[in-house]
């Protein structure tokens, strides 16, 4: 079919090209949102994510300063996600500590299946703004855990609540969701 009276046809190509560029840019933006989201979570504590895997960063000295003027209550809880035949409970429901003090607690985990199972714990801290001041030094969530059939194990957790914690936060809840470890290899960037 011949296009009859379509004027100024020469302009269309350039404009279409620019619009396609916008489409490409917003597709790239959508993909960039994935790492961007992680960064924003890290900075703001959005979603209660804690990013202290591997302990304190290399340039960070162990905390010597302990804020004895106040006590913070840390509560522990855990959920086993569907598909993982485990039981999970904290040995203590909560501890009270001064910010800056190192504290060790443990979770009791038991495999109820008759075969070895690999699990991965994902921590979450509430309220979200406390997450960036909650430093885990040693945690069973840093690695995947393998339990033999029927095996029960005490899994240790060592942490510090940094003195920079907002004064208004008096209670912090640390929750673990234990997932069945995905079958493929974990992500290479070392995040748990």
């Amino acid at each position: 079919m011949s296009e009859t009276a379509v004027p100024a046809r020469r302009d269309h190509g350039r404009l279409v090209g620019r619009l396609v560029l916008i489409v490409a840019a917003s597709a790239a933006f959508g993909i960039a949102l994935v790492p961007l989201y992680d960064t924003i979570c890290r900075v703001t504590g959005l979603n209660g994510k804690t990013f202290s895997a591997g302990g304190l960063a290399a340039d960070e000295k162990p905390l010597e300063r302990v804020d004895r003027s106040r006590l913070v209550k840390v509560e522990f809880t855990g959920t086993v996600m569907p598909g993982l035949p485990w039981e999970l409970r904290p040995l203590q429901n909560s501890v009270e500590l001064h910010p800056g003090e190192m504290q060790q607690v443990a979770f009791l985990v038991r495999n109820t299946a008759s075969e070895p199972v690999t699990g991965q714990a994902i921590p979450s801290v509430t309220p979200g703004q406390a997450a960036q001041h909650f430093h885990k030094i040693e945690c069973f969530c840093f690695n995947q855990q393998v339990l033999a059939p029927g095996e029960a194990r005490e899994m240790p957790l060592m942490f510090i609540v940094k003195p920079e914690l907002d004064a208004e936060v008096r209670t912090i809840t640390l929750s673990y969701a234990f997932f069945k470890a995905p079958e493929s290899t974990p992500r290479k960037d070392g995040r748990t």
């Binding site: 009859t4 004027p7 994935v34």
Partner: protein
């Protein structure tokens, strides 16, 4: 600005007859903006009934507590596919159909700028609609477990675990997205390059302005949705963990990606309607549109604000307080430009010599009911109140006031207003008025009780409910069936016009109508403006 002025082609006069393909080939190969507009609108009307039947089945199940007609799995499939069909296969194609028909007529162009792309943009839709609904049919033959059952939002991890219906929906969204992007590019190029001499951007009809903003929102946000559902697909089949917490991903990330598209989508659906409203109001008030500039700037402001407020859809998912406050205030800020639009609509009618033909009835009904959507939206934008109302029937009622009363009744306004132009025939005013009153009354009968259900604590997306919600649900179901059946009047009225029944329409079908489209015959010639008009 378009300086290429009037192009007259001596050959053009012959184009009405002779060498066009006829029958199905005409529709498969057409590059004519009016044919394509007609196909978009017909497709939208059919899918409107498909989506409507799905939700009537849902309402029938909800007529009384307990499970009577279907299992929860099937219920979940119906609500999700209802939403996807209504949004992507009914409302969006209807708006694109309007754009195809009206934009060239209104700006004095012979056709859309990219006619072949236009054809392809439409013919992508039927395969997408088939992909979306096919899992229902496959399940009848024992293949798979039915359509997507996650609701239209695809939330992970549910969508990662779902059956093949999710894959079908993902591919349907990909295809619909490509179609929308092609349509948008075409509309932007047409508006920028094809305007009649003398039509500056600030003389552009408001309908075209509304669509221009919609088109930019589409090309800026659809790729993000496409990316999100692609990540979902790789999570499901290729071992990635974008949304799998155990593998280092985050299901909340999906909500951010989805609603970064999903919130602008609301305005994508509504801006074309806001654009056509002033034309109808001015016509039947016999006054010029009030506040043209204010409305243009309102459209632009809403377009910009719409992409920075998305997280108000999941206030309860867990966010730091400053983020909650930001999303609350920015959401509420949208009500300011929207209030400008409302005041312009009312001021256009103010002291006009108004008459209430069917399009005007729908326009006034739209203003009142869409106002309720806006005010209840302010309630939901409040972080403290939202904690109570989130995921309740209050939300369902709110967005149906926005998308049925705001979106679909807006589309009906446009259909009644322009149908005489498109078909050359006047529809039956009596049937039109019956359609309006039945629609508006049964709509309120359906959705007003849902506000109270939500306030009383009934969650959405459940097939069964506690006894205390029984009365309101029964009322709502009765209303929904009247609402559904009333739409047959709408279809009948359109079909009669399309068949050439009814009084012939004049070029200027409405006494007070202004604008270039009314200077062409009804129906317009095969090539709309072979000689471009001069706009003073």
């Amino acid at each position: 600005m378009n300086t290429a002025t009037t192009t007259v082609n001596g050959h053009a006069g012959h184009h009405d007859g002779g060498h066009h393909p006829t029958g199905i080939l005409r529709w498969l190969t057409t590059t004519n903006h009016k044919d394509i507009g007609t196909m978009y609108l017909s497709f939208a009307l059919i899918m409107f009934f498909v989506g409507g039947i799905m939700i009537l089945a849902v309402r029938a199940e909800l007529f009384s507590p307990g499970l009577q007609l279907m299992q929860p799995e099937f219920f979940n499939q119906l609500i999700g596919v209802h939403a996807l069909v209504m949004i992507f296969a009914a409302l969006m194609p209807a708006a694109t159909g309007f754009a195809n028909w009206q934009i060239p007529l209104m700006i004095g162009a012979p056709d859309m700028a990219l006619p072949r792309l236009n054809n392809w943009g439409f013919w992508l839709l039927p395969p997408a609609a088939i992909l979306l609904t096919m899992p229902f049919v496959l399940a009848l033959f024992g293949i798979g477990d039915g359509a997507i059952a996650t609701g239209w939002t695809f939330y992970a991890p549910l969508s990662v675990q779902g059956g093949i219906g999710v894959d079908f929906a993902i591919f349907a969204v990909h295809i619909l997205g490509i179609s929308s992007i092609l349509g948008s590019i075409n509309i932007i190029v047409t508006i920028f390059n094809m305007r009649a001499p003398g039509m500056t951007m600030m003389k552009l009809p408001l309908f075209c302005w509304g669509w221009l903003i919609t088109a930019f929102l589409l090309i800026a946000t659809i790729p993000v949705l496409a990316g999100a559902v692609t990540m979902l697909l790789t999570d499901r089949h290729f071992g990635t963990h974008f949304f799998n917490a155990a593998g280092g991903g985050d299901p909340i990330l999906f909500q951010h990606l989805f609603w970064f598209f999903g919130h602008p989508e609301v305005y994508i659906l509504l801006l074309p309607v806001w654009g056509l409203m002033p034309h109808v109001l001015a016509t039947f008030s016999r006054k010029p549109t009030y506040g043209y500039r204010g409305q243009v700037y309102g459209f632009i402001a809403i377009g910009i604000l719409s992409v920075i407020v998305w997280a108000h859809h999941f206030f309860t998912a867990g966010m730091p307080v400053p983020a909650l406050l930001y999303f609350m205030y920015s959401t509420m800020a949208i009500s300011l430009p929207l209030a400008v639009l409302f005041f312009c609509w009312i001021a256009t009618m103010w002291r006009g010599s108004m008459s209430f033909e069917t399009p005007m009835l729908f326009a006034v009904g739209f203003i009142v009911l869409f106002g309720i959507a806006g005010l209840t939206g302010l309630v939901l934008a409040d972080v403290a109140a939202d904690a109570q109302y989130h995921h309740s029937y209050f939300v369902v009622a709110h967005f149906h006031y926005a998308l049925f009363a705001g979106g679909i009744m807006g589309v009906m306004t446009g259909v009644y207003y322009w149908l005489p132009k498109w078909t050359g025939r006047m529809y039956s005013e009596t049937l039109g008025k019956w359609h309006f009153w039945l629609t508006v009354l049964s709509f309120n009968l359906t959705f007003m009780p849902q506000f109270f259900l939500g306030l009383a604590g009934m969650p959405r997306r459940i097939p069964d409910y506690a006894l205390q919600f029984a009365e309101f649900n029964a009322i709502s179901t009765v209303g929904s069936f009247i609402l559904g059946l009333s739409q047959l009047l709408f279809a009948w009225n359109i079909i009669q016009c399309a068949r050439g029944r009814g009084a012939p329409a004049e070029s200027r079908a409405w006494e007070g109508a202004e604008g270039l489209e009314w200077e062409l015959s009804s129906p317009p010639p095969h090539h709309s403006w072979e000689v471009q008009p001069q706009v003073k």
